[in-house]
Amino acid sequence: MSGFQIVNGLAGLLIVTSLLVIIARRPTRSAMFYALQSLVLVGVFVTLAGTVGSHELYAWAATSFVTKVVLVPVMMVRMFGRLDDPKLGSGERISPAVSVLLAAVVVVLCFAVVSGVALPAVAAIKPALAVSLAHFFLGLAAIVTQRNILKQVFGYCLMENGSHLTLALLAAKAPELVEVGIATDAVFAVVIMAVLATQIHRTFGTLDADQLTTLKG
Amino acid sequence: MIDLALATILLPVLGAVLIALAPQPAAKSICRFFAGLALLSVLYLAYGFAAGGKVATERAFITLGDVEIVGFAVDTVSVLVAVAVVAIGFLVAIYSGGYFDVGNREHADIGRRRFWAFLLVFIGAMAGLVFTSTLVGQLVFFEITGACSWALIGYYEKPKALASALKALIITHIASIGLYVAASVLFLDTGTFSLSAIAQLPTGAKTVVMLAILVAAWGKSAQLPFHMWLPDAMEAPTPVSAYLHAASMVKVGVYIFARALMSSGGTPEIVGWVGTIMAVVTLVYGFVMYLPQADLKRLLAYSTITQLAYIFLGLSLSVFGSDLAFKGAIAHIFNHAFAKTLFFLIAGSLSYTAGTRMLPVLRGILAKSPVIGIGFTVAALAITGVPPFSGFFSKFAIFAGGFRVADAHPALMILVVVALLESVGSFAWFLKWVGWSVPGKPSETMAAAAPLPASMRLVLIVLIVMAVCSSFVATAWLG
């Protein structure tokens, strides 16, 4: 099995894990699935690094491991664990079954889009590229379909992972500073969202996005 | 020469700034003083211009790169109109000093600083519009006069007044899109905003520019289909109606059209047709609207609409080659300014003394107050064009010019005849009201009327004189 095939296979695993993140009932559980997904992502980076011989990608894998597998999930578990809104329930606008179906549609569409890209470098990893794009839109879908504001944070994280994967696939030799910048930014984004979510939970007593209706028009 | 024109524009603006800084009681004197300075400046300009042999002068003022953005031009037409608007501005400032008083029966109001400041800004902007030599300059002053008009119509701050003010602003602003179009097309075709460049445009672009200017002109001069703001604008204090909505601002429209015609070096006939037809339609409409009016000010508003239509008629007829119609139209701008101001100030004087402007209850004015009574009669005769009052001569020139060009264009004959009929009709209608209100025994309302302050009386007398002589001034000046 060539390195690229492993990459494509792992990419498929990413879709599964992101569905788990979306479907999980408790935010802390989602955080764990997110850590798992990030681990898969790190796996993709390492495999890619070996296959194309990119030292930069090893460095990426290392930073991603530190930030996305350890740092962000730990913070999320700690901060989100304190927040609870029993009234909200699952907070899904659509059922898990529909979510899965939607995800399938997104993946198919993304395959169609990616098949049009003509760059020679991506020929072998088109499935993975399609997955990365799909991942991005799955994250967006999560934000739209989840009422729980913490789940919306995960939606953003999925989008970010998707673009991260695209970057690795398309430009494996990008300077690591780029990657560090993106990763740091993601960490800060999650921290700030978590702080705001905590303030909202304290002030409103709810995590339901539909309850945030003071401002209209 | 141009410096004097600039002084005429900037002195009132300076006065407005001073008013904003000064305490309220000083505002009236500052306003009168600066309006007087502006008048002296423009009179001196007129004297110098005439003494120097009436040589037209033009100078760029603001340029961007090589392009003249705003420039000013002194010529026979601009000087004549400038003298009228600044002089009337000064007279209105004097009159307002008496009108804004606790003795006013209709609106006891002491005249807040806002009134005096905007009045001055308006005088300056109006002078600017008259002297500017570029389309952008016209657009700028067009909008400034619109903003001043908005502030002054809404002066009493009643909901109805504010709504009318907004209506006036929005309608004229929509019409101003015509000037936007005209300025853009001119600029893009010739690389300049200067009015004199209109002559260099190819026929198609020239037609577009002229029609676009005509649209903007209709808006400001309250012609169909943009007429509705003017009757509502009568919510303004009467001196404002007199000045903005009879003498000056509504003349912005006809004036910019006149200037465009002067600079166009031959206008496509289609413009003349559009202008003539719309003028006659407006004439007929305005006349029909006379009939139900009982409020003197609203009657005057519709009369203003029709008189402006005469000016448009004269200007549009000049497209077909009648210089006489053009001169008649310019003279009518000048004559109508004085006569209609007089009429509005008469309305204001009636409000001040009797507390109402409703014609049915106003009878026997002459017996109670000879000045108002005579003014009423003179204004009505001057407006309707009875010889020897001023309106006769300018209207005569318009009709004479019209009949001359109608020889070549038979269809025009019908339009000119319709206009002539309107003239007769409006004469009859005004005569009816003069007969009702002026002679006889004072009605109950009139008998209880208060005396008129000296400043207002003085202004009325000056205007009565002008309503008789203005035509001679204009004819002598235009040659």
């Binding site: 030799k173 740091t184 909202i200 | 037209a56 400034i144 504010l162 929509i174 300025a183 893009l188």
Partner: protein, 525 residues
Amino acid sequence: MVSSILPLLLLAVPLAAAVAVAVAPSGPTSSKFVEIVHVASISAVGVLALLVVGRTMAGDDVTALGNWLYVDPLAAIFVSLIGIVGFLTGLYALGYVRHEVAHGELTPAKHKIFYGFFNLFVFTMLLAVTSNNIVMMWVAVEATTLGSAFLVGLYGKRSSLEAAWKYVIICTVGVAFGLYGTILTFSNGAEVLAAPGGAIYWTTLAANAKLLDPTLVKIAFVFVLIGFGTKAGLFPMHAWLPDAHSEAPSPVSALLSGVLLKCALFVIIRYHVITMQAVGPEFSQSLLLTLGFLSVAVSAFLVYVQHDLKRKLAYHSVEHLGLIVLGLGIGGPLGIGAALLHAINHSFCKALLFCGSGNVLIKYGTRDLKSVKGLLRVAPVSGLLMMAGALALAGFPPFNIFVSEFLIFSAGVQEGHWGLMIVTALLFTITVAALIHIVSGSVLGKAPDTMVKGDVGPSMLVPMAGLLVLVLVMGVAVPQPVSRLIQQATAVVIGGDRTVPLAAPWQHPAPVAEIVAPARAEPRS
């Protein structure tokens, strides 16, 4: 290109100030210290920004940190906006925040948070417009959201937290699209360039745009437009904007509307340049034209129905950003120059009005236009400033918005978009009515009897007067350096030679006007 320490200094000052404020001990004694640091920082930023701009205009593009920071005339416009508007709103903030703390609207701890984040926010905006590294550009734009989110939610009320949440979610999600577009552009460049590392630099990408894969360039531009368009508040991604602008403290609203939106716009322009070079102007121009027009059309009506002063102003920002984008979409030297001029003009004017809304809040305690009456009588100077600002925004001469609106209109006519321009002009008439409503309903009129007369202090009025002066100066005669800067920036966007004057209509060699008088060389007024 010359390397210079100036951009680094420019970035270091607000960052250092933010850190200094953050580490300062909290307590009444330190609030003086915090304010001093803040004033020193914004003054230094103002001066340094103008120095950088001056350097750029002398003909040298300034770089720093290798190639990472880069200021060309295009960036210089935005740097100077941040410097000037940041300085004036920062000054205004002193009086405003003091008042809020004194009246218990903000806790003393929030005082420190405000100034810390204010400077951080300025830093992130400066970083966004000075970076040449496209990934750093994205990071900086994302950081502006994060830096200003706490400012939006500063009051800690339900509504402000809600606004902050919407702001963060919508903008980070939006900007994630921007990240995707950035990555696509970068990988596209890395694939085709001889030195793949160069693909990270905008300058390299723009110079080699012809080599890029056209399909990817188009996809990337769509992503960028959605992403940074969200941040710029374009319809239909504008949902966060009215909330955030209305809930933030007024000086921050001024900064958000006056400057932040333009920073996002700046990034869009950068990618617009690459796209135009790579696939010709039609693609990106038609997208910009559509989005710009839709923004104008929708917000014109939304402006009208609002009764909340700050929300009304916020929708005006959507509308004017739409107009700027429309100008870019019209294209040509005149369209782009006019759009850039409008960006500057709108900044000054909107900052003035948002500061004015702060005065209204201080005097009346509400933004509801139905309750705010007679500002001119209660606080005459604020009333006058608001009135002038509203007339300026409505596009009346002699104020600045008139000039750039007129130029955009001309540009549209020149490119043959007759109908579109006339419809746009009519749409703007609706907003004229909306603004006049503000003036006639709230600035004029009779004040409630309970109102205490007296204006806010000079510390807040003077910066506003400064903004009004800028509005007037730009309206009466655009100063020579500014018009030159815009001309150079337009050349950057079009990709022409900056030293040769563009064939913009105002540069026709000989005006056809026949000037009768010999005295032509009147000094500009």
